[in-house]
Structures are given as structure tokens and as C-alpha cells.
Amino acid sequence: MSSAATGTSSAAPPRPAYWPRLGGAALGRGLVVGYLSIIVLLPIAALVVQSTDGGWSAFWNAISNPEAWWSLRWTLIASLIVVVINVFAGTAIAWVLVRDRFPGKAALNGVIDLPFALPTIVAGVTLLALYGPNSPVGIDAAFTKVAVVMALAFVTLPFVVRAVQPVLMEVDVEAEEAAASLGASPFTTFRRVILPSLLPAILSGSALAFARAIGEFGSLVLFAAFIPFKTEVMSGLIFSQIGTGNLTGAAAQSVVLLAIALVVLLVFGRLTKWSLRHAG
């Protein structure tokens, strides 16, 4: 990061290392890399290796057999539906939290983070209480596809909201007023002035929500269960495969799930950067 010849002298040049001796920093780096390797990389490596244990045919079979293939498609579809719901609901909620004024708004703002803090199993129990077999309002959605969508929507609620909120707070109110003075309707102003600047946030929030949704497990256990060809998402399938001892199959399915999550995060990361440049 070299400053240009005309830059201020107190700007960019790299500061001396926090540990002034080169040795200190190298030790720190070694410790960090070592820690991450043991805790994270080692198990992932074992996973990838195990998935290849039966060769390509076993790998392919693990994801292409009817139950697995159905589960994979359902996982992706359900997660996609939830992302779409989150885009609308999340943006609307963020809007209300930033632009609206009413008693209890601060408390509501705090509640948004609840799905982050709440154990997933409790999320499932919570939904079951109101929308399960003993529902006080007679709605029993347990063990259905709707239950899957509801549970995923529950746990991914904060992602888009929290991504959009800060951007919305920074939106140039004067730009909106200029648009209004030029005759734009509120909706047009929203579409042409505000939305473009929200797009990067919506994209990144959606990517995080999607990655979270496809791997979700705890909230589904009690509320939706993992009924093959009905509500079984990939995480449930993998769980049952582990239970029956088919570790290679489970590993193969895991690798595919992980790869999808990484690709989505990568692609959306690029998309977010692109849209940030064109957000204006």
C-alpha cells in the first residue's frame, strides 16, 4: 500500500509489525495457522478424503440415488423460496425499523437477532407449539413442506434485515427528495433511487441466508422431521446415513452440500462487489 507521491505522509505506509521483531509475528502466524488447521482444516480434509473412498461410482451414487436426488432438489428449492421470502420480508422489516416511528420499535429491533441467539432446537419447539399437533389455533403444519419453509424462514430472518438496515440508514435522503421534486412517485423513487443502493446488501444477505438454509438441521428435527420424499433435507439425509454407517455416502453428500454453499457465497460475493461498483 504505497501512497502516491502527492498523498499525505501519514496515510498508507505499512506500520511496523505489532511485534517489532520479525520472529514474533512469524510465531503468531504459525500458531494461528496451526490452530485453524487442527480445528477446521483437518476434519474437512478427512471429509473430502472419505467421500472418495468408494471411487467416483460410490460418490455419484450417493447423490444420484432417488432419495438423495430428491432431497438435494428439495433442499435447494426450499432454501430458494426462503431467500425470496426474506428479500421481501427482510427489506420491509428493515424499512420499518429505519424509517418508521412507533412505541416499542427499539425492542422490536432487538428481537430481530433472536434467531441468531436461540438454539435451533428451541426454534423448532417454538414453531411446533403454535403450528403443530396441539396448536391452539388449529393449524397443524408439522411434518409438511410448509413446516420446512417456516423453520428455515425463522432461522434466516436476521440475515437480510441486518444487511439492509445499515445501508438504509446511510441512504441519501436528499437524493430521494430530489427525485420527488422531479415528479417521481414514491414507488418509482424507491425503485430507481433507493433499491440500487440496497442491492449489494440484499445480495450479500441473501447469500448468507441461503448458505445457512441449505445446512439447517436443528429446527427441522421436531417440527418437520426428515421424511424421505416429503420433508427430508440434505442435512437430515446425511444424519441418517451416518446412523446406518454409510460414512462414504454421507461424506459425499456433505462435500456436495459444502461445495454448493461455497460456490454460492463466492458467486454472491462477486455479484455484491459488482453491484457495489454500479450502485451509484
Binding site: S2, A5, P20
Partner: protein, 337 residues
């Protein structure tokens, strides 16, 4: 504690911040390093402090090679442009920090802190937090903090840059007075030539990583060694290859040898002085600075035709901006200009 910099160089990637700089700072002096942004002045200061290591060259502090000694052990006091106050500590604890690190006795620390706060006129504010102080007060606290451990050298990096103009002026005078009292070798970095001229005993002018000239303010002003120094240290007019200070431009009503015809475009009254903006026959602009009294005596008016003659000027060699002529041009040079 005298400081000698020997051929110090420092680059960051492709950018050369300090290029073979050598200079001497006499013991107990008050020196300014003056230069525009990117001139390398802050980097040089940080090298002297031990916050940066030069790629080549040496730093000698009182005769000892300090080049490989880190800031922690160099016994230098450093004051940052944005104060670097320890935000979570009171003023007292900020100033006491260096003493606490050295495990001094508590009573001794309290006594010393009280003395220093009195010195910088912050007595009574010992229990406040930096966020409760004004910018000027924070900088004075930073100064007290640096002085607490009795450093051999005091280094200040654009110390008044973040302050209001009025506060800046006050602190300038105050720094000079402080130096008179405390007598520690002091080096400060600034891009404000007025500040350097007002405060320092010696000025080192830097440009693109090199030292252009070093010397007392008066010498730099009256005997600049290069175009750059002359232009940076004060206002200057350029007449061809002749560089003339605005107050060395004589205004006459009648033609004289060496004088050029010019029209007064503008008269700007700046209190005690008057700035006369002129345009020469060839279309070039030039401005003169005269006192109110002189302006009245000459009865100058906008649109008037007058004759201007530089009473003094310098010519610098075209190629490297270095001086080729001496101060007072001959009549031939004046006529040629």
C-alpha cells in the same frame, strides 16, 4: 542531545519516501522539518523516533548509533498529529503512563504529573478523560505525557495540524516558550511555512524525500538555494528567470532604468498591508506588497499605469533550480528581465 542523520533512505514498495537524507540537529535546538505532503518529512521523523527502520543509513543520538534500537528503548518523546491519547485513561494516567511503565514510586509519579500539568496549564483537569478535552488541551496533555519520562529528544509530527487556526497560533507561541523553559532537543514536522518560520531556530526544507536546504529561518528566506525553497518559504513572483519577493517590488510613477510598465488590476487592502495585483505589458501577472502608508503616499488606483522594478531578486539555474546568480542582480540582468 544532538542528532545526526547519515544518508538515511526509506522506501515503501515503489515509493521512495526518504532519499539519502543527511542532517544534523544541534543539542538543545528547536528544529522544524518543513515540506509539502509526500516530501518524506513525517517518515524522516518516524525514522529518528525508531517507529520506522531506514533501509540504509544511520541515526546517531548523542554520538551513539541508534539505528537498530526500537522506539521503545530510544528514549524519545513523540507527539502525534491526532494526539494518540489513551482514550480509556484519565489525563493523569495518560501523563503518568511512561512513569508507571518504569515502575516509579507512586508518590513520585503523582508529584511529577502535577508539575507537568501545571507546566502545560492543564492543572485541575487531571481526572478528566481525553474525550472531555478540547483539541488544544489534548495536544498539551500529549506533550506533558511525552515530557514526563524526560526524553533526550522531543519529536512532534504536525502537532497543530488538527487544530483551529486560532488555537494553532496560540500553541505555536506556547511551544516556543516551553522550549525556552525545558531546553530539550526538539524537532517538529510541519507543512506550514509560517509555523516553521515563527517557531524554529533551524528549518530543514524537504521535497520528494530529499533535503533542499537547512538553516535558520532568515537564511532560508533571504538566501534560498533553490527555486523550490524560495517558493515554499515565502511568496514569490517570477519574472522570466528572476524570482522576486512581493515586498521587493518597487512601484514607481515614472519610468526608470530596469523598470517595466504595468497596469494595476486590483488593490487588496489587508489591514496594515496592501497587495497590488499588476499585469505587465506582455500579459504576465505579478503582485507587490506594500504598506498602507506607502500605498497612500503613491496614491495608487485601480487601472493606473505604473512602473515596477525589483529591488532584489534571485536567478536560479534553469536545469536544476539551483541558484546561479547572487542576490542582487546587476543592471543588465534587471534590464533583461
Amino acid at each position: 542531545m544532538s542528532i545526526i542523520v547519515e544518508s538515511a533512505s526509506k522506501r515503501f514498495g515503489d515509493f521512495v519516501a526518504v532519499d539519502d537524507v543527511s542532517l544534523t540537529v544541534p543539542d538543545g535546538s528547536l528544529t522544524a522539518i518543513l515540506g509539502p505532503s509526500g516530501s518524506g518529512k513525517s517518515t524522516l521523523l518516524r525514522i529518528i523516533a525508531g517507529l520506522e527502520t531506514p533501509d540504509s543509513g544511520r541515526i546517531l543520538i548523542q554520538g551513539n548509533d541508534a539505528t537498530s534500537i526500537p522506539a521503545q528503548h530510544r528514549d524519545v518523546g513523540f507527539v502525534f498529529q491526532h494526539y494518540a491519547a489513551f482514550k480509556h485513561m484519565t489525563v493523569h494516567n495518560n501523563v503518568a503512563f511512561g512513569l508507571k511503565i518504569r515502575k516509579r514510586d507512586k508518590d513520585e509519579i503523582d508529584q511529577r504529573v502535577r508539575e507537568l500539568l501545571a507546566l502545560v496549564h492543564l492543572d485541575g483537569l487531571a481526572d478528566r478523560y481525553p474525550s472531555q478535552l478540547s483539541g488544544g488541551q489534548r495536544q498539551r496533555m500529549a506533550l506533558a505525557r511525552a515530557l514526563a519520562v524526560e526524553p533526550k529528544v522531543l519529536l512532534l509530527d504536525e502537532p497543530f495540524g488538527a487544530l483551529d487556526a486560532q488555537v494553532r497560533k496560540e500553541l505555536r507561541a506556547w511551544l516556543r516558550r516551553l522550549h525556552d523553559e525545558v531546553h530539550v532537543t526538539t524537532i517538529f514536522v510541519t507543512h506550514d511555512q509560517e509555523e516553521a518560520m515563527e517557531v524554529a531556530e533551524q528549518i530543514v526544507v524537504m521535497n520528494v524525500g530529499q533535503v533542499e536546504q537547512a538553516g535558520p529561518p532568515r537564511e532560508l528566506y533571504e538566501h534560498p538555494k533553490s527555486e523550490f525553497v524560495m517558493g515554499f518559504v515565502g511568496a514569490v513572483n517570477r519574472l522570466g528567470s528572476l524570482f522576486v519577493r512581493p515586498h521587493d517590488v518597487e512601484i514607481l510613477h515614472h519610468p526608470k532604468p530596469g523598470a517595466d510598465e504595468a497596469m494595476i488590476e486590483h488593490l487588496v487592502h489587508l489591514g496594515f498591508e496592501v497587495r497590488v495585483e499588476l499585469v505587465l505589458a506582455g500579459g504576465d501577472g505579478l503582485w507587490a506588497q506594500i504598506t498602507q502608508a506607502e500605498a497612500e503616499q503613491l496614491e495608487l488606483q485601480k487601472g493606473q499605469i505604473v512602473y515596477v522594478r525589483p529591488s532584489r531578486g534571485r536567478v536560479f539555474d534553469r536545469d536544476d533550480g539551483r541558484p546561479s546568480g547572487d542576490d542582487t542582480p546587476s543592471t543588465e540582468e534587471l534590464q533583461a528581465a
